[in-house]
């Protein structure tokens, strides 16, 4: 985009060519080396724009080269010739390309990048992309949390970039504008925005320090003060404004308004100096004001560093596999349930046993428990994940059939209701329903919601109370405290007494955070009516009844 801008504004130079052309070639080659991307680097539409610009820059370079060699008249002839021929060829190629691209439903863009352009695309068509919490748009406070003070310095930097608008500063401006747009779509892209913000605020701070240190240098007693005389007019003007500004500064101790005003004051001054080009009139501020300003800027930097260190330590360093809390007496209580479950799996199950869980725990199970999982964090097979999601949302018998067809032996469920761990599977359950429903239409999200609300208490829908996730999470939970109070959802659960017919509990960790169930082998004989094919009148000989009907809670 920057290259196009430069060419259009007539700023083409050989530097630009040297910078851009190898970048495109090398970048595409390196991207193609990554196994996941492979040949997608040259075949998907997202990259066509950079190839187009690559071609354009070659054309422009050729034009300039020829222009340098030919005389003006010959040049005109050559230009008309080339243009007419080239136009025909280009049109043909573009027609072919557009036909190719338009034939695919997403116009060649992959789902992830389409969701960048149209933020609502993912939630409509691909729920699994929408379910990842890092793909959500960021909130305003998260901007402040991530870049802190830079939020004020970035606009100042943008303005500083415009003052001498060169190739480099226009590149930075374009970079930051696109980065702001994309980070506004997805929280994850805050990573892309951060370097741009740093560059901008660096520019702003350096300009500010330039002005302030220059002021001090020229006003130190005994220094030559070249522009002292020339600036007196500016000085008085600057002084008046800045006396008012310093008062404001002392009142609020905020940098932003004063800097912005300084900026605004500087602009007409600097623009005047550029226009006149006779005398370089540099802005010089009063000595005390500049000293205080420098000290305050340094303090600002210090606060920024403190905040960054704190954010890295607290917010970005939690491993979230071992949780710790401090008891009332100040002792440390460790919740090591995840590792307990993985160690149990690795020692007490057979080597070929497969474990089914939600995809968040896939890599952990593979690494620590050393067992095969059905879906893991790579999430490259959406249908497979939807199958697991459907199984978790179905009643016991249907879920057992699905898991049996996948040759699963153990099902792992994370449950935080006893200790109050909020990121458990019941909280993620609606996403399982949505993802499953995206591929298997018999799972409908409204079946699990009562009046549009997601509940698990006595007002929950029967589909919700009968689904596998509910049963596996709350099996015998009522026996812990007699009332089955779920500490995360802050309510008592709906169905308290039930038995599992197709699964049996083989392990629950110390704080009930991970629960592992085993699929029961199918019965040898099926008694009773086998002709009925309705799933409600179950033809197996299990004495299972659904939650409503019988009085005795244990049948």
């Amino acid at each position: 985009m920057h290259v196009l801008l430069c060419i259009v504004t007539g700023r083409y130079s050989s530097r630009l060519y040297i910078a851009y052309a190898p970048l495109v070639v090398l970048g595409t080659l390196l991207a193609a080396l990554v196994p996941v991307v492979g040949f997608n680097a040259v075949m998907t539409s997202e990259h066509f724009a950079s190839f187009l610009v690559f071609i354009i820059i070659h054309v422009v370079a050729l034009v300039y080269h020829v222009k340098g060699n030919l005389s003006p008249r010959m040049f005109k002839v050559a230009v008309t010739l080339v243009v007419s021929v080239g136009l025909v060829v280009c049109c043909a190629m573009i027609a072919v390309l557009i036909a190719l691209v338009a034939s695919s439903p997403t116009k060649g863009w992959s789902g992830r990048s389409l969701s960048l352009l149209d933020p609502t695309y993912a939630s409509k068509y691909i729920p699994i992309i929408a379910s990842v919490s890092e793909h959500q748009p960021p909130t305003w406070p998260s901007y402040f949390m991530d870049i802190n003070v830079l939020a004020f310095l970035v606009p100042a930097g943008i303005i500083a970039c415009f003052l001498p608008l060169s190739d480099a500063s226009s590149f930075v401006v374009l970079y930051i504008v696109t980065a702001v747009y994309f980070s506004g779509v997805m929280v994850r892209l805050m990573l892309v925005f951060a370097p741009a913000a740093c560059i901008m605020s660096g520019i702003a701070l350096s300009e500010a320090f330039n002005v302030l240190t220059r002021s001090i240098k020229f006003q130190l007693p005994g220094s030559s003060g070249i522009s002292q005389s020339g600036d007196t007019s500016m000085n008085t003007e600057g002084e008046q404004n800045d006396i008012a500004k310093t008062e404001k500064m002392d009142e609020t101790a905020k940098e932003r308004p004063s800097k912005k005003n300084k900026r605004k004051e500087k602009e007409p001054v600097v623009k005047a100096s550029i226009r006149s080009r006779i005398e370089r009139r540099l802005l010089v501020l009063p000595l005390e004001a500049s000293v205080i300003a420098i000290i305050l800027l340094v303090l600002l930097g210090a606060f920024y560093v403190v905040h960054c260190v704190w954010a890295a330590a607290e917010a970005y360093s939690a491993p979230s596999i071992v949780l710790t809390t401090y008891s009332r007496e100040g002792g440390l209580h460790v919740f090591d349930d995840f590792r307990e479950a993985y160690a149990w799996l690795s020692h007490n199950t057979e080597v070929d046993d497969k474990v089914a869980s939600w995809w968040d725990y896939g890599y952990q199970t593979t690494a620590m428990a050393n067992r095969t999982v059905i879906v893991d964090n790579n999430t490259w097979n959406n249908t497979h994940i939807a199958t697991v999601g459907t199984a978790m949302s179905s009643p016991e018998k249907a879920a057992w059939e699905i898991f049996n067809s996948l040759d699963v032996k153990y099902v792992l469920v994370v449950f935080g209701g006893l200790v109050g761990y909020p990121s458990d599977d019941i909280n993620k359950f609606l996403w399982m329903v949505r993802i499953g429903g995206g591929v298997f239409p018999h799972i409908k999200e409204p079946d699990y919601l009562r009046d549009g609300q997601y509940r698990i208490d006595s007002q929950a829908t029967p589909t919700m109370l009968n689904c596998l996730m509910y049963k596996l999470s709350y099996y015998r939970f009522v026996e812990t405290d007699g009332k089955a109070f779920d500490r995360v959802r802050q309510t008592e659960i709906g169905k308290k007494y039930f038995k599992l017919t197709h699964f049996e509990e083989v392990f629950t960790t110390h704080h009930w955070m991970v629960r592992i169930y085993k699929l029961k082998p199918p019965k040898n004989r099926i008694r009773g009516k086998t002709k009925k094919s309705k799933s409600k009148a179950s033809s197996t000989s299990s004495p299972k009844r659904s939650g409503t009907g019988k009085r005795n809670p244990w049948h």
Binding site: V334, R339, E340, Y342, A343, W344, H347, T508, W512
Partner: protein, 469 residues
């Protein structure tokens, strides 16, 4: 009346048996000794079976007898971990015990593959002299769980198979066997009259005048909920560093060797009714470490295990460890315990100029059986002539290990033993020679490397290496 008849019968059988044995083996020494009174106490309260045998022997022939032979059925002999014998000296008040040597031995006409151990007496017995011996032998893996699989709420029942009559190559005049059970619940036991069961004690006997090699198999089906902690493999590495530290690393493979757990494990039942559910499972293990231990760590493949406590005082340290999950029948756990000890507590100099390491053999975990124990003593670089002095038979071999700053490698003395019980925790010594000048090897190496590096930097900076002027 009955007694006189039985006495007569006893006398007759006695005479008959003596004659038969005289005819069978004239040269065998088995009829030289006669056991006047044998009392056997079998302790079944933990999964390690301890048997205390008190024998009062008499020499009935003129030739002096210098050893007493103990016999074991072959099935028991495989599980025999330890046989110790002591002789009682002195009268009632001033009794003291002297340790006697016990060695496995072979007798030429062993019926049915019987295995023998011979005890060497301090003073040979002459005709008519008696001696009292106390023998202790320990059996491992002798309690067979039956039913082999139990659920969480059942308690563990085991079979113990032995003989009501003490197997012996000698004639036994009178013998009694007492079995001590851990609880009052005994499902069944074979009756070999006279048998009496009261409270926690099952008494077989007294039996009079039994011939040699008399055997009467009995099976006792009892309840035993003690933790069946078996370490399948234990590798202990003891690394000696002459700079003042001994580093010990122990790799455990722990398994619950009792009745296998089948079916559901319900955490709610385990937590709410601990006395009823999971009675045969165990959660804690206690390790006794030497005092002045430092830098103790307890981890496994995945990472650090945070559930452990270390309590130390000036005489011993106790490390209480909890595996990540409670162990039920058939469940396994593996972990690594490591710690450091000060060198001056363990390394000494022997009178002939050699150094020796005095360390304790065995597994520090209490009440556990180790199926295969390997101790590797890593001697510092430059040690020569390693040799070990261990009070019981072990397999020895040498290896080499390359560690930090090693040029020729460190000599490793590997000791292996199978079937180790807590009674094996005794000190053993490893002797080696070491010239103190070799201590300088490592610091000199490091110093010379840095020195050469700096010299090279100096040479590079001060010389003009440009190609063109």
């Amino acid at each position: 009346m009955a007694r006189s008849i039985s006495m007569e019968a006893a006398g007759l059988t006695l005479a008959f048996l003596i004659l038969t044995f005289l005819t069978i083996s004239a040269a065998s020494s088995t009829n030289q000794i006669q056991i006047l009174n044998a009392e056997r106490r079998i302790d079944l309260s933990s999964h390690i079976v301890k048997v205390f045998l008190t024998l009062k022997v008499e020499n009935v022939m003129t030739a002096p007898a210098s050893e007493i032979v103990l016999a074991f059925p072959p099935a028991q002999a495989d599980h025999l971990a330890l046989v110790k014998a002591q002789a009682a000296i002195g009268k009632k008040k001033k009794k003291s015990y002297v340790h006697l040597d016990v060695n496995p031995t072979e007798l030429p006409d062993a019926p049915n593959g019987t295995k023998y151990f011979s005890i060497s007496l301090l003073n040979p017995l002459s005709l008519g002299e008696t001696a009292t011996l106390e023998v202790l032998y320990i059996l491992t893996h002798s309690l067979k769980p039956f039913p082999a699989e139990i659920s969480q709420s059942e308690s563990q029942l085991v079979y113990f198979r032995d003989s009501a009559l003490i197997l012996s190559p000698y004639h036994v005049k009178q013998q009694t066997t007492f079995l001590k059970t851990p609880s009052t619940k005994v499902e069944s036991f074979t009756r070999v009259e006279p048998t009496k069961f009261a409270g926690r004690e099952l008494k077989y006997g007294p039996y009079e005048d039994r011939p040699p090699y008399s055997f009467s198999p009995v099976t006792v089906h009892l309840e035993n909920n003690s933790p069946f902690a078996v370490v399948e493999e234990l590798l202990r590495e003891v690394e000696i560093s002459h700079w003042g530290n001994i580093q010990i690393t122990e790799h455990y493979k722990l398994v619950h060797a009792g009745a296998r757990h089948k079916g559901v494990f319900s955490r709610v039942e385990y937590q709410s009714r601990p006395s009823f559910s999971g009675t045969s499972s165990f959660k804690h293990l206690l390790a006794s470490l030497p005092p002045r231990v430092h830098s103790v760590y307890y981890r496994d493949d995945i990472g650090n295990i945070s559930s452990s406590h270390l309590r130390s005082d000036y005489r011993k340290s106790e490390l209480e460890i909890e595996p990540r999950y409670p162990l039920f029948g058939g469940w396994k756990a593996t972990f690594v315990i490591g710690y450091g000890l000060p060198l001056e507590d363990f390394l000494f100099e022997s009178p002939d100029g050699k150094r020796y390491l005095n360390f304790s053999f065995g597994c520090p975990l209490a009440e556990t059986v180790v199926d295969k124990l390997t101790i590797k003593v890593v001697l510092p670089e430059g040690s020569k002539d390693p040799s070990a002095a261990v009070p019981f038979p072990v397999e020895q071999r040498l290896e080499t290990k390359y560690s930090y700053l090693d040029v020729v490698g460190r000599t490793v003395l590997v000791l292996e033993k199978k079937n180790v019980v807590p009674e094996h925790i005794t000190p053993f010594q490893v002797y080696y020679t070491f010239k103190p000048i070799f201590m300088l090897a490592e610091p000199l190496m490091l110093a010379s490397v840095f020195f050469l590096f700096f010299v090279a930097c100096l040479a590079y900076l001060h010389n003009d290496l440009s190609i063109r002027k």
